[in-house]
């Protein structure tokens, strides 16, 4: 944030107004990326320090929306199959199945599919999170990674896959529309939140922080994790099992 950078008084800093995760602007925009990089490196030739905070003048290029098109929405409706697994796990697996063709289109169009950082399959991640949401530690899903690490990397792998699948669909969704769709409308987001509750209720302080702050954006916590405050403080007690 520019405000934080001002406080830190860094010697040479180029502030850019781009969304988080894209510090050089936008993918597939080499000329724009080169301008940003050159603007940053050009600060090395300036002698008007000791603090230079330069603002990059332009917003990142945005893919044009089709003329007359309204806001993006995902037209797929998810119908969970019957089965013996927890409902939220079944719903998420059904989402994966329905979105898979769009992800194939996305990969065919963009040509890049890096391996998952967690080394886990989507099904392993989903079933592991389902176990956590049900209150079990899901050790069989760990693949030799510590609990929080496979959860962190696994959630990120599957969330990335969802966002890529959404971008494979017709229409040009803006980033905020994709995020809103993911966190408000998908079963996987609710599954993440269910697992986050497992951590948020932990007696272990680091696990609590992880569940409260690292798994669900604050802006969606009210909807997905009602009663949980991201800041330290009292947490709702674990509900009694009906079993």
């Amino acid at each position: 944030m520019r405000e934080n950078t001002e406080r830190m008084q860094l010697p040479r800093f180029l502030w850019v107004p781009f969304e988080l995760g894209r510090p050089f602007g936008a993918p597939g925009e080499p000329d724009f990326q080169r301008r940003v990089l050159h603007a940053a490196l050009a600060l090395l030739e300036r002698d008007d320090g000791p603090v230079i905070l330069e603002d990059f003048p332009d917003d990142a290029p945005v893919a044009p929306t089709a003329e007359g098109a309204e806001g993006w929405s995902c037209p797929i409706s998810f119908h969970p199959p019957e089965g013996g697994e927890p409902e939220l796990v079944r719903e998420t697996l059904a989402e994966i199945e329905r979105l898979a063709p769009w992800h194939e289109i996305y990969v065919a169009e963009r040509g890049r599919a890096a391996p998952p950082a967690s080394g886990m399959t989507h099904q392993e991640v989903i079933r592991g999170l389902g176990a956590l949401a049900a209150g079990a530690p899901a050790s069989e899903a760990c693949r030799n990674l510590p609990l929080q690490e496979w959860v962190r990397l696994g959630c990120e792998d599957v969330r990335t896959w969802y966002l890529e699948a959404a971008q494979g669909q017709p229409g040009r969704a803006q980033s905020f529309e994709l995020q809103d769709w993911f966190w408000r409308q998908t079963a996987f987001a609710r599954l993440i939140a269910g697992a986050a509750m497992y951590f948020a209720r932990s007696a272990d302080g680091r696990q609590q922080m992880f569940g409260r702050r690292a798994m669900v954006p604050r802006v969606y916590m009210r909807q997905l994790m009602p009663g949980v405050d991201p800041s330290p403080g009292d947490l709702p007690s674990r509900p009694r099992s009906s079993a």
């Binding site: 944030m1 520019r2 405000e3 934080n4 950078t5 406080r7 830190m8 008084q9 010697p11 502030w15 107004p17 781009f18 969304e19 988080l20 995760g21 894209r22 510090p23 050089f24 602007g25 936008a26 993918p27 597939g28 925009e29 080499p30 990326q33 080169r34 990089l37 050159h38 490196l41 050009a42 090395l44 030739e45 002698d47 320090g49 603090v51 963009r110 890049r112 599919a113 890096a114 950082a117 929080q148 690490e149 962190r152 990397l153 990120e156 969330r159 990335t160 966002l163 890529e164 971008q167 980033s175 994709l178 995020q179 690292a214 798994m215 669900v216 954006p217 604050r218 802006v219 991201p230």
Partner: protein
């Protein structure tokens, strides 16, 4: 990175609450040489590494080496945050780690040369003071590579 007005109020309040102390001293270095003679490296805090390298953990003070010749498809990202997503990086590594752009600037003569090695860190989970020993080690490695300009790229 990103306008405060572009993020939800809850996030903005959280971000502004972070401890961002100024340096005790002013680590200013005057422009010693034109950019066109400089050997440039990228140090990213995006948690990038080669696919076979160990993943970064949540609180991780180590670094990974990225040789300049590493192809984009051989890089992965194990930084994670609910506040950004990896789709931009997966589509075009240069949106996070502009290595191709750096090579272009070198071929155009804008910079002198591209370093043989670039570096990546996990940019979250630790206070700035905790990373100082790591950065001093990195600085020594950069000097060995005769680097005299670094682009510190966040994510």
């Amino acid at each position: 990175m990103v306008r405060l007005s572009d993020i939800p109020t809850e996030e903005a309040v959280h971000v502004l609450s972070k401890v961002c102390l100024p340096f005790d001293s002013r680590p200013w270095v005057a422009a010693a040489a034109p950019l066109s003679t400089r050997r440039v490296a990228i140090v990213t805090s995006a948690g990038l590494h080669r696919v076979g390298d160990p993943a970064f953990t949540t609180v991780d003070l180590s670094y990974r080496v990225i040789p300049a010749s590493t192809p984009a498809h051989a890089l992965t990202m194990t930084h994670s945050s609910v506040h950004f997503d990896r789709t931009g990086f997966r589509e075009d590594v240069n949106v996070v780690f502009p290595i191709d752009r750096l090579h272009e600037l070198a071929s155009e003569g804008v910079i002198g040369s591209v370093a043989d090695y670039h570096y990546s860190l996990m940019g979250a989970g630790w206070p700035p003071s905790a990373i100082e020993p790591t950065m001093r080690e990195l600085a020594a490695r950069l000097r060995e590579d005769e680097v005299d300009a670094v682009c510190l790229a966040p994510v």
